[in-house]
Amino acid sequence: MDPRLVQLAYLLSAVLFILGLKGLTRPRTAVRGNLLGACGLLVAVVVTLVQTGLDYRLIVGGLVVGAVIGAVFAIRVQMTEMPQMVALFNGFGGAASTLVAGANLVQTETFSADMLVATALSGMIGAVTFSGSLIAWGKLKEFRKLDQIKIPAQQLVNGTLVLSCIALTVAMANGDGSTMTVVAYWGTSTLALILGVTLVVSIGGADMPVVIALLNSYSGLAAAATGFVLSNTVLIISGSLVGASGLILTRIMCVAMNRSLPNVLFGKMGASGSTLDADDVYADVKSTSADEVAMLLEVASRVVIVPGYGMAVAQAQHTVSDLRKLLVSKQIQVDFAIHPVAGRMPGHMNVLLAEADVPYEALREMDEINPTMEQVDVTIVLGANDVVNPLARTDPDSPIAGMPIIDVDKSRTIIVIKRSLSPGFAGIPNPLFAADNALMLFADGRKAIQDIINALNES
């Protein structure tokens, strides 16, 4: 095949990726956008396959096995498990980049310093993405052992690993493609594997959306670096598109927590001087029952539900959707107020509620709903904590100071559904629970909502 034709086909697939990503930014065009992206990938792979001189045995084997595994994952995954799956797939993409660059290093016969540096970068970024994503996956799967791992002198360890990787890259750039270069390559990649672990293992819980978005960005950058290794433009273009997309999401998540990226990655949450005693804060907590909540809802005209990670854990999205339908049938307006970092990945709550048939128009962004919170009769907080903690506004010493929150405390009555008064990820008490207009309903999220539905039906 004429190399120019191949190049044109790669250009076509790059254009399809751009159009596809553009489509993914609007609900109306998103399905088509995703299909365009898939077409772009298909074009690139088919064109690569039809080139002469390829030995198809291993290729076909890998394609078939990978496609089957990927399809099974995609069909069987629960929507609550999306963060884990995206993390895992990110890792696979990163590992593929590392392996491709490594294979090319052995196969190629001529070397330039540029190409060797690109090879080292591809190996490093790919390996960090792979191990970091596996750790993120394990943390999202809640393997408790991972949370117990403490890296002593963590900054020092990370710094040493990064410097060693840079030193090996410089050594590679001056190499001649001999065995030493190959050894240096796998050395760099191994160090980067360890770095991925030490970077991610101490980050947890509510900071996960940032980590997932960042790893998403890395998997793109790894592919772009591999593009430099192979002088392949389609890899560079699509890799950098994904890299940019991940960076934008990372930034959105950081802004939504009023924290800088280094603070999320290296900082410690809850280490501030503010020491509010939970017993003092919770002295006036009032608890309530499902029947009482049902009575409040009966006379409400506007209800807002604030979901958090607890809703995903309790798998309560379908029950909540039923409650919404029931209230809407009683002429009550019901909206969902969604904080940008609610859940364990960007947009996590939206996907769960969409799965449960909640219409798109009922999912409201924080900035959109906050100015109207004073007109809300009843707010139900379901499995959210830090994102509704008024200390973010009032206490400048709090670890969440300045973080934008959903102003649920301004609504007339607040129902907080929670198993206990245990603190959220930030490890601080939440004065909202003891506010005059707040009532606690201590129960499992799904059961509590179901009880409210039953009480509404009986009355």
Partner: protein, 120 residues
């Protein structure tokens, strides 16, 4: 243009950067051309993706994640060319991993977006 050699099954960067710097090559340095493409593509990415509604953050993530499986192209070349076994096996593993990424990523994104669309 060396730039266009990229598509040959076994990719070789023929010129070394020192030759290019010495003015031996005709066109611009390959690495510089590739860097230009990279930087421009980053800007396109930022331009295209700003102002995504939060509702679509997760599908955007899994969809763009599938696109990053484009490393599959490189994996196919590695698994299918050359004579020595080791790089071919590495390539084969890479093909498998990248295909999981691509097929799983696009399919699950499609599944998710179907949930959003159903209520239109």
């Amino acid at each position: 243009m060396h730039f266009l050699l990229a598509s040959e099954p076994v990719t070789r960067i023929v010129e070394s950067s020192t030759e290019a710097a010495g003015g031996a090559s005709v066109g611009p340095d390959t690495a510089m051309l590739l860097l230009t493409v990279f930087v421009l593509a980053v800007f396109i990415g930022i331009e295209v993706i700003t102002k995504i509604p939060p509702t679509l953050h997760t599908p955007l993530m899994s969809g763009s994640n599938a696109i990053s499986g484009i490393a599959l192209v490189g994996a196919v070349i590695a698994a299918g060319s050359g004579d020595s076994m080791l790089p071919k096996v590495l390539g084969c593993v890479a093909v498998t991993l990248a295909t999981i990424n691509v097929v799983g990523g696009f399919m699950v994104t499609h599944r998710m977006l179907g949930m959003f669309r159903r209520k239109d």
